[in-house]
């Protein structure tokens, strides 16, 4: 299995998608630093109101950073792994390797671990970069415990996306899987955006209920965006601040947190990932190449 993990890492290091991601990351960090500096200069430090303003500035900066950061992370995960099974089978690469004395479940797990570990390392780098930049220009929570929790939530999207992508690769062709994953992730993101924007809109109760049902169902199928909102809520310690002032109220305009998923939703996402992983492994095990 270590051979398969090593092969996956070598593939990721040498494929253009990783190079593209690195270029995007560097560009993102430069632009993000620039925007963070502009936003940071608007906040003062004198009164208690200004302290809140400074916190809100920090919250806005990290929200903006993770909004785009999660895109880059998803880009890396989806576009590096979408062709891993069906694409390899289409050019008979898989056939030459699976005829070797290796168990199929080990192959699948090796690929999954390869993509997931690589993605988590990248997520750690991205997370650290966003938090450090935000911290230079504004105040963000300094608690290590909060950062550990929020990073774990940020990184949870990595195994989730790898799992869904590998499962999709047992159903669709390489191209079809790429389209499927892009649309699925896009639907999850759109559902999250609709939920955030509608949180501040004046709507009839029945319309709001229908909208929440739809966005809720989308989140159940692709929980990545909802988990990201949960991550921000944990990092900004929204629960603790809820009694002092309405953070979400002050972050409207697409950058708010909208409905913050519960801890149960995190458990659901973890279980969802495990079940889809086992399903994908079973399909791979039974698949004729």
């Amino acid at each position: 299995m270590t051979t398969v993990i090593g092969m996956t890492w070598k593939e990721l290091m040498r494929k253009k998608v990783v190079l593209m991601t690195m270029i995007m990351t560097v560009l993102f960090i430069i632009v993000f630093s620039f925007i963070a500096r502009i936003l940071g200069n608007t906040a003062g430090v004198d009164s208690s109101q200004q302290l809140i303003n400074q916190f809100m500035t920090g919250a806005s900066i990290v929200t903006l950073g993770f909004f785009f950061g999660s895109f880059i992370l998803a880009f890396l995960i989806i576009f590096s792994s979408f062709s891993s099974i069906s694409g390899e089978a289409e050019i008979s690469m898989m056939q030459s390797m699976l005829s070797r004395p290796i168990q199929r479940w080990k192959w699948y797990l090796g690929r999954w671990l390869g993509y997931t570990l690589f993605g988590i390392v990248y997520a750690l780098v991205l997370y650290t970069a966003i938090v450090v930049i935000a911290n230079i220009y504004a105040t963000v929570p300094q608690s290590l415990g909060l950062h550990v929790q929020s990073f774990l939530l940020f990184a949870l999207t990595v195994p989730l996306l790898v799992t869904v992508t590998l499962l999709g690769a047992t159903f669709f062709s390489a191209l079809g899987n790429g389209v499927f994953m892009t649309m699925l992730y896009g639907a999850g993101w759109l559902g999250g955006m609709v939920e955030k924007l509608s949180a501040g809109a004046d709507m009839k109760p029945e319309m709001a209920r229908s909208l929440y049902n739809i966005t809720g169902m989308i989140s159940l199928v692709m929980p990545a965006d909802a988990i990201q909102r949960k991550m921000l809520a944990v990092m900004l310690n929204i629960d603790q601040l809820a009694g002092m002032f309405n953070v979400d109220e002050q972050m409207r305009g697409g950058m708010g947190l909208g409905q913050i998923p519960s801890a149960t939703f995190v458990v659901y996402t973890s279980m969802y990932t495990i079940i889809l992983f086992l399903w994908g492994m079973r399909r791979f095990y039974k698949k004729d190449f």
């Binding site: 593939e11 050019i91 056939q95 070797r100 004395p101 168990q103 039974k286 004729d288």
Partner: protein, 323 residues
């Protein structure tokens, strides 16, 4: 180790679209080269994929040196070269072979000299340090051979091993296959290059629409009837019935357009073809021809080519092709 390398019993794979193969029963001995022929879409690759553990059979069974197909122990015995494959283009040739050696669980401390030797053997040599994306199709095919051989397997499944190669490359692969056969490897060869099959294999099977149509020793398949040809001058049509009656041998004149020619002295020649039971009859026919005042220029046995046999076997039959 068993003397039967590949034992296939009633192996069947049925797909929803009606393709696949049915009730294939073949036995291949250790050290034997077996040719597997058939039109496109006949089910040849499906059978090989079942044997190397890539596709699960619908029914039937097969073993490789007594180990059931698909098991890790069976896979230890095989090297497989798939058809129309590409390797990881982000790796170098050496890295691809090394990856396969790792997947085979080989000792990495001893593998480096073997990789170099293999790459030299298949004609890649120093280009083994180039990335695969810079390889031509022929180079990739050579790399595929190196990967198939990396674990020194006793059984080789080769699906069109020289289809992408130029004539020189084909000769080199053919020489390599002959060498491997001499080393005692069992070779299961899927190929459309019938000349390749004919030069390497002792036995063949012909698959059509997923079923074995014919099989047997190549020598029996190609020489079912002993035919001899005689190039003669001074032939007249009236002589033919007399020759047939007197000799008791079935003789016919080959069609005039293909057989007639004119010698330098202006004398016309024709080819006669006789189906004989033994070589004594050939001598008897020689005598009769000469006694009738004809001049005998050339006598030769007719060797049927595998291509003719293949065409004869599948002509008139429906075959699903690549539909």
């Amino acid at each position: 180790m068993s003397t039967v390398a590949i034992d296939i019993q009633q192996l069947t794979k049925e797909y929803d679209n009606g393709r696949g193969c049915r009730n294939v029963t073949i036995s291949v001995g250790k050290g034997e080269a077996f040719g597997f022929l058939g039109p496109n879409g006949a089910g040849k690759s499906t059978l090989v994929k079942m044997l190397v553990g890539l596709t699960a059979p619908t029914s039937g069974s097969a073993t490789l040196f007594g180990e059931p197909i698909g098991s890790l122990s069976a896979k230890q015995h095989i090297g497989y070269l798939p058809e129309l494959y590409r390797y990881q283009e982000w790796l170098t040739g050496e890295e691809v072979v090394q990856l396969h050696s790792r997947l085979c669980g080989m000792d990495q401390s001893t593998i480096k000299p073997r990789i170099k030797q293999l790459l030299d053997q298949v004609g890649i040599g120093k280009r083994g340090t180039d990335r695969v994306k810079h390889y031509s199709k022929g180079m990739q095919q050579r790399l595929g051979m190196a990967c198939a051989l990396v674990n020194d397997p006793p059984i080789l499944f080769l699906d069109e091993p020289s289809s992408a190669l130029d004539p020189i490359g084909r000769l080199e692969v053919r020489a390599l296959l002959k060498q491997l056969k001499q080393e005692g490897k069992t070779i299961f060869l899927n190929s459309h290059l019938l000349e390749e099959v004919e030069s390497l294999c002792e036995r063949i099977a012909l698959l059509n629409n997923g079923e074995i149509l014919r099989h047997g020793q190549i020598s029996q398949v190609l020489y079912t009837q002993a035919k001899w040809r005689f190039k003669v001058a001074g032939f007249t049509p009236e002589i033919l019935p007399w020759l047939n009656e007197t000799s008791g041998i079935s003789i016919e004149r080959l069609s005039s357009t293909s057989s007639a020619s004119t010698l330098l002295g202006g004398q016309d020649t024709v080819w006669l073809e006789a189906v004989v039971d033994n070589e004594e009859q050939v001598g008897w026919l020689n005598t009769l021809i000469v006694n009738q005042g004809m001049t005998l220029y050339h006598v030769e046995p007719v060797k049927e080519r595998l291509e003719e046999w293949f065409m004869d076997a599948v002509s008139g039959l429906s075959h699903r092709g690549e539909q």
